[in-house]
Structure formats: structure tokens, C-alpha cells
């Protein structure tokens, strides 16, 4: 099943490389002060990202936490739009209003990177409820980290999903640390997938660095969610090579040896070796790597040349069209400068 599915998919390999190279470049640009705020790098987690997205149909919906660059790219959001968002530019996928943590592309069913741990879970659950209400036979993939499973929102969401039989798969990316706290130090039940059983829900753990294994499990669980309205928890065990964010060296809670061990199991190298076994040529794979590098370079060039958002559009999108009329009487007596900053450009989109 897995081999037949993934086969000689050099495109998936290219997608993993695109993410790795994009993340490496993001960290570089952050350190060059062209990217601000928080910047969470996902290097090392590419097999989980690409495998689960590969399991989605075009009509399925995606919700993630804040470590979302890779998911956006895997889902097909143009690297230009992602890098422009990281740069805070007008053509970013959130028009420079969201930044690294709040990527989205509704046209691709990607309803956002969300920044509060576990806050995206109830919303993803509601999207699944919305799919059912609208008679759609699609499913939601909701990504979260291992740190999110000790939040109340996790339990409330799983309970609602099981109670209402919602088409959703909660993808727990267990990269072994929530910031600097290991899963063992945070979770009384560190085998996270087992917690699904408390809600009479299917729970499953896979090697998150094995592209075939991830793709097979995600395909099966998403199909089950779509066809039988059975929600599930899929725990993918992987490792994040870099710190929690670019500001964290990631070394005071884990050893260099541990990181080196993880890097020796690199998901991209494993995918490459397997592709070669299955008949892909070195040239083919090298060309894929070159295309990925070129795409990242083009994204940076695009972002550099894209204009900043106009300050006169500060409140752009905050409210729906027509809201200007509702807010107009609030201009009177407003604090100094609000007229120019908020009201003049319009509150409604």
C-alpha cells in the first residue's frame, strides 16, 4: 500500500527539500533582521508535514499551530507569498498582518496558522462541524504540537469530535519538546496517541520521519474520517533540529549528541535513499534539489521587492464591508490620531 502510494515520488522529495531550504533561509533572514517577531523553524519534521498533506484531498481543510511555514508550502501556497508574509509585505498571504505564525490560504482550504497553543483545536473542530452541516464529505487535518495535549482545549475538542462524530484527524507532531520541556516532563501519559481512547477515538502512533509510513496512516485515517465520520488522533514522532524558535539555540534542554542522533535519521535522506532503491536516478534527485533552491531564492527576491503595506490601511480587513457606517459615530471624541490611523482608510473590507 505504502509503496504503491508513494512510489517514485520525486515531487514529494522536492517538497521536503523546498521546506528544508526555505526554513534554513528563513533563519538566515531572521538573523539578518529582515524577518521579525517569532520565527519557528520546522527542519527535521518534513516527512510528517509532506506525508500528511499528501494524504489530503484538494477539498479537505487544514488548520495548524504556529510552526506552519512547512505546512503552507506543502499545501501549495506559493513560496513568494509565504516569504513576503515573513517579511511583512503587502503580497504576503495575510497581506503582512499575520507574519510567521499566521499563514493561511483559504483558496487551498488552509484556515490558518494560529498562535495560542491548542487554541486552534476548537476552531478546527468547528470547521469539521461546518463540513457536516454543509453536506460536504471532506475532512479536516488539525496539526498541533506535543505541548498542546495538556491544555483543556485538547480535551474539549476531542470530546466534541467524538460525541458529534466529526470528520477530523488531530495530527500531534511529537517532536519530543514543548519549548524546552520534554514530553516526559509534561505529560503523565507520554504515549499521546493513547489519550484518544479516553474519548473512544482511534489513536495511532507512526514514525514521523518515515514518509511512507506517515502518508499511509494519514491517508487511511483521513479516508475513515471522510467516509465514516470517525475522528482520530495521529501521533507522528519526529524531532525538531533547531530551537523552539530562532531565538532559542535549543541546547540547554538537550545535548548535541541527541541532536546528531536525530540528524542521522534524517527524513529527507531516508526518502532519497528509498527513491534511489526504487529506481530514481541521482541526477533526477539533484535536479529536484536545484529546483527547490531556485524556488527559495525566487521567494526571497520577490519578498525583498514587494512593498510594505500602506499605513493608511492599518485597519484593513478588521471588519466586514459596511462596518464603516456602524463605526462612523465613534470618530467623535476618539483618542488623538485615531481618525488618521483607523477611520480614514476604512474599517470594513
Amino acid at each position: 500500500m505504502a509503496v504503491a502510494q508513494v512510489g517514485v515520488r520525486t515531487d514529494l522529495y522536492e517538497r521536503m527539500l523546498l521546506i528544508r531550504k526555505f526554513e534554513t533561509e528563513s533563519e538566515r533572514q531572521y538573523k539578518a533582521a529582515r524577518i521579525g517577531g517569532y520565527c519557528h523553524i520546522s527542519s527535521g519534521q518534513e516527512a510528517t508535514t509532506v506525508g500528511t498533506i499528501e494524504a489530503m484531498t484538494d477539498d479537505d481543510l487544514l488548520v495548524t499551530g504556529y510552526r506552519c511555514h512547512g505546512f503552507a508550502l506543502a499545501r501549495g501556497v506559493p513560496p513568494e507569498a509565504v516569504m513576503a508574509e515573513l517579511f511583512g509585505r503587502r503580497s504576503g498571504c495575510a497581506h503582512g498582518r499575520g507574519g510567521s505564525m499566521h499563514l493561511l490560504d483559504v483558496s487551498r482550504g488552509f484556515y490558518g496558522g494560529w498562535g495560542i497553543v491548542a487554541g486552534q483545536l476548537p476552531i478546527a473542530t468547528g470547521l469539521a462541524h461546518g463540513l457536516v452541516r454543509r453536506g460536504r464529505e471532506d475532512a479536516v487535518l488539525c496539526e498541533l504540537g506535543d505541548g498542546a495535549v495538556n491544555m483543556g482545549a485538547w480535551h474539549e475538542s476531542l470530546n466534541l469530535a467524538a460525541l458529534w462524530r466529526l470528520p477530523i484527524v488531530y495530527l500531534v507532531i511529537n517532536n519530543r519538546y514543548g519549548m524546552g520541556t520534554s514530553v516526559e516532563r509534561a505529560s503523565a501519559e507520554p504515549e499521546i496517541f493513547k489519550r484518544a481512547r479516553a474519548h473512544r477515538m482511534e489513536g495511532e502512533r507512526v514514525d514521523g520521519d518515515d514518509l511512507d509510513e506517515v502518508t499511509e496512516a494519514a491517508t487511511r485515517l483521513l479516508a475513515r474520517a471522510r467516509e465514516q465520520r470517525e475522528p482520530a488522533v495521529l501521533e507522528a514522532v519526529t524531532y525538531r533540529y533547531r530551537g523552539h524558535s530562532v531565538a532559542d539555540a535549543g541546547l540547554n534542554y538537550r545535548t548535541k549528541e541527541e541532536i546528531a542522533e536525530a540528524e542521522a535519521r534524517d527524513p529527507i535522506e531516508r526518502a532519497r535513499a528509498r527513491l534511489l532503491e526504487r529506481g530514481a536516478s541521482e541526477d533526477q534527485l539533484d535536479e529536484a534539489a536545484e529546483r527547490a533552491a531556485a524556488a527559495v531564492a525566487a521567494a526571497v527576491e520577490f519578498a525583498e521587492n514587494d512593498p510594505e503595506p500602506d499605513v493608511s490601511e492599518l485597519a484593513y480587513g478588521m471588519h466586514a464591508a459596511g462596518s464603516d457606517v456602524q463605526f462612523a459615530p465613534m470618530r467623535l471624541g476618539a483618542p488623538y490620531g485615531e481618525d488618521e490611523l483607523v477611520f480614514d482608510a476604512g474599517l470594513g473590507r
Partner: protein, 351 residues
């Protein structure tokens, strides 16, 4: 159309019908659910139990369990689920039993719903309605007697309305359901049973962001919302007959957007303002109003802007203590008399 149960809202197709505030809310829900199949009601005990305060009585029978959804006690979960459904274009109306319980869903309301429009660059909208009553006065004590609407009204990205009578309850709830943005509809426990004339027109809508002069008067403006408006109108009638003071009462109806124009026009006529709210005044609705009035009406004011709210203690149980702490008629009247120069400038304690 079927008439669901004996105590469901009266059928009203033209002119006005006298009904209670809760019946007006129910009528608004029924009409909007009949008009738009994407509207659904979700919350604790809204279906089989017919609502803790019976607002949704009969709706489960009429619309079925897919549109009147009983949830577990799980506010963070189902408020978030409402947000998610709204992102797909559904029109969820989420009932929170009282505003006190909205605190456990605060992260979803403030940090999620309110952020969607801006944080995602206007790419997606969240047409969510949350309905919930505020207020004290029934000896429900510290954890169940609060009025937090000012917190929400201070959050860009949200809209907050607070109907003070049955006609507005219908018109504002309907408008909130039709709005494309997240709207908090703040109802009020003591006025669920209050009666009033309600237009039967299914297109009776009250615009969001427009206050209403509920009583005209030349001497002083009392500005209030929700149940405080009801008290303000009582005080105005009493002061007119006992002291010849004609107070104008401005019912805000909407806290965000806030109709400062209507408030300022009233204060410009009367030159005096008394602001009343059920919540604590510090950093509250009246604090916001006072700041905007001093800026908009600096040259019009003949007296300091006065305000009355709940005494700044967690609300006590004993009836006499609770009465003393709430913005009762006596405290409002004293503040108005002080502002028009007929009483001590700083109202004395009731005890």
C-alpha cells in the same frame, strides 16, 4: 409554519405585539432560522431543557436537533466550534448560560474570534453571534452576578450590543445574526420578563452602532445600556415628578461601535451628564464614555461628568448588601441631583 408550543413567541406578522424580552429574542431566533438555513443555535441546555432562561423554548421541536444543538459543559470547545463553523460561512448563534461562564472561553473570543479579520489580512470572516445575559440582583452572589461587557467592548475586532427592551432585543439580535463579524449580544437576567411592544415585521432590524434617545429632557443626560437604561428611565420619571428635573435618557444599545455622536449631541443640549452601568466603573463603559465626552463636549459641560456603577466589591449575597452595591435607583437619583446642583456634589453612602 408551525406554532411550536403553547409558550413559544406569539405569532406576529404586522403591527406590534406585546411580548416579553425573552419572547422577543425567541422570535428573532425563529425568524432568522426560518429565513436562513445556515443559522443554528448551540449551547448548554438550549434544546431539550429549552434554555436556562427559556429563551429557546419550542425551537428544538420546530427546527430539530441539527439546528438546536445541546452541547456538553464545554464553553471553550463550543465557542471555538462556533468560530470554526462561521469560518465556513455557517451562522452559529452560541448561547452562553451567563456572561460569567464566558470567562472560560475568553481565549477563543478575545484571542481568536476578534483577531480573524485583521490577523489573516481580511481573507476570511467570522459571522459568529454569542448571546449571554449579564447582571446581578437575584442574590446569585460573587461568581454569578457580573457585567463584563466593557471588557469585550474594549477589544478591537468585536462588536457588542446590549438591548434594553423587547423591541431592541428582537431588532439587535436579528441584525447581529446578519452581521459578517463576531457580535456579542449582552442580554440581562432581570429584564427577560419585561414586556414591551415588538414590531411583527420580520425585517425589523436595529442598526448596530446607533444609540437611541429613550426619553427627552433638557436638564441632564443620563447615558446607560441594558438594565441600567431601565433604571435610568425610572429615575428620570421620579425626578420629573418630585423635583421638576427633566432628564434625557440615552440608551446606548451598542457598546462597540459606540455612538458618541448621539451621546455628545445630548450632552451639548443638556450640558450635564450622568453615566450609569451595572458593571464596575473602573476602566468600564462609563470610564470610556467620560473620556470621550470630555473630548467631544469640553466647552458644553456645566458640571463634572458623574458616573454610577456597581460598588467595587465582588457582589455579596445578603439582600441588603447586594442592593447597596448595585447601581440602585437611589444612587442614580442622587448622582443626577448632584449634577444639576440639587444635591451634595459627592453622593453620600447609603448607610
Amino acid at each position: 409554519m408551525t406554532t411550536a408550543t403553547a409558550d413559544s413567541a406569539p405569532e406576529a406578522t404586522g403591527g406590534t405585539t406585546t411580548m416579553t424580552y425573552r419572547e422577543a429574542l425567541r422570535l428573532a431566533l425563529r425568524e432568522e432560522m426560518q429565513r436562513d438555513p445556515s443559522v443554528f443555535l448551540m449551547g448548554e441546555e438550549v434544546g431539550v431543557f429549552e434554555g436556562s432562561y427559556k429563551v429557546s423554548a419550542g425551537l428544538l421541536d420546530e427546527f430539530g436537533p441539527d439546528r438546536v444543538i445541546d452541547t456538553p459543559i464545554s464553553e471553550e470547545g463550543f465557542v471555538g466550534a462556533g468560530i470554526g463553523a462561521a469560518l465556513l460561512g455557517e451562522r452559529p448563534v452560541v448561547e452562553i448560560m451567563t456572561i460569567n461562564f464566558l470567562l472560560v472561553a475568553m481565549d477563543q473570543v478575545i484571542n481568536h474570534a476578534a483577531k480573524i479579520g485583521t490577523m489573516f489580512g481580511g481573507e476570511v470572516r467570522c459571522p459568529l453571534v454569542i448571546r449571554t445575559p449579564n447582571g446581578g440582583g437575584n442574590q446569585l452572589t460573587a461568581q454569578h452576578s457580573q457585567s463584563f461587557e466593557g471588557w469585550f467592548a474594549g477589544t478591537p475586532g468585536l462588536k457588542v450590543v446590549a438591548p434594553a427592551n423587547p423591541a431592541d432585543a428582537k431588532g439587535l439580535l436579528k441584525q447581529a445574526i446578519r452581521d459578517e463579524d463576531p457580535v456579542l449580544v449582552v442580554e440581562n437576567l432581570p429584564i427577560y420578563k419585561q414586556k414591551g411592544d415588538v414590531p411583527g415585521d420580520p425585517e425589523h432590524l436595529v442598526p448596530i452602532g446607533r444609540a437611541r434617545v429613550a426619553r427627552e429632557g433638557r436638564d441632564v443626560s443620563i447615558v446607560a445600556h441594558g438594565f441600567a437604561t431601565v433604571r435610568a428611565l425610572d429615575v428620570a420619571e421620579r425626578l420629573a415628578s418630585e423635583h421638576g428635573v427633566e432628564a434625557e435618557v440615552v440608551d446606548l444599545r451598542s457598546l462597540r461601535p459606540l455612538d458618541v455622536e448621539t451621546v455628545a449631541a445630548s450632552v451639548a443640549r443638556t450640558n450635564r451628564a450622568v453615566l450609569v452601568e451595572e458593571g464596575w466603573p473602573s476602566y468600564g463603559v462609563t470610564a470610556e464614555l467620560a473620556a470621550r465626552i470630555q473630548r467631544a463636549c469640553f466647552d458644553d459641560l456645566d458640571a463634572p461628568v458623574e458616573r454610577v456603577g456597581s460598588a467595587e466589591v465582588p457582589l455579596p449575597y445578603a439582600k441588603n448588601l447586594e442592593n447597596a452595591a448595585l447601581p440602585n435607583l437611589e444612587r442614580i437619583a442622587a448622582a443626577v441631583l448632584a449634577t444639576v446642583g440639587l444635591g451634595p456634589q459627592t453622593p453620600v453612602s447609603q448607610h
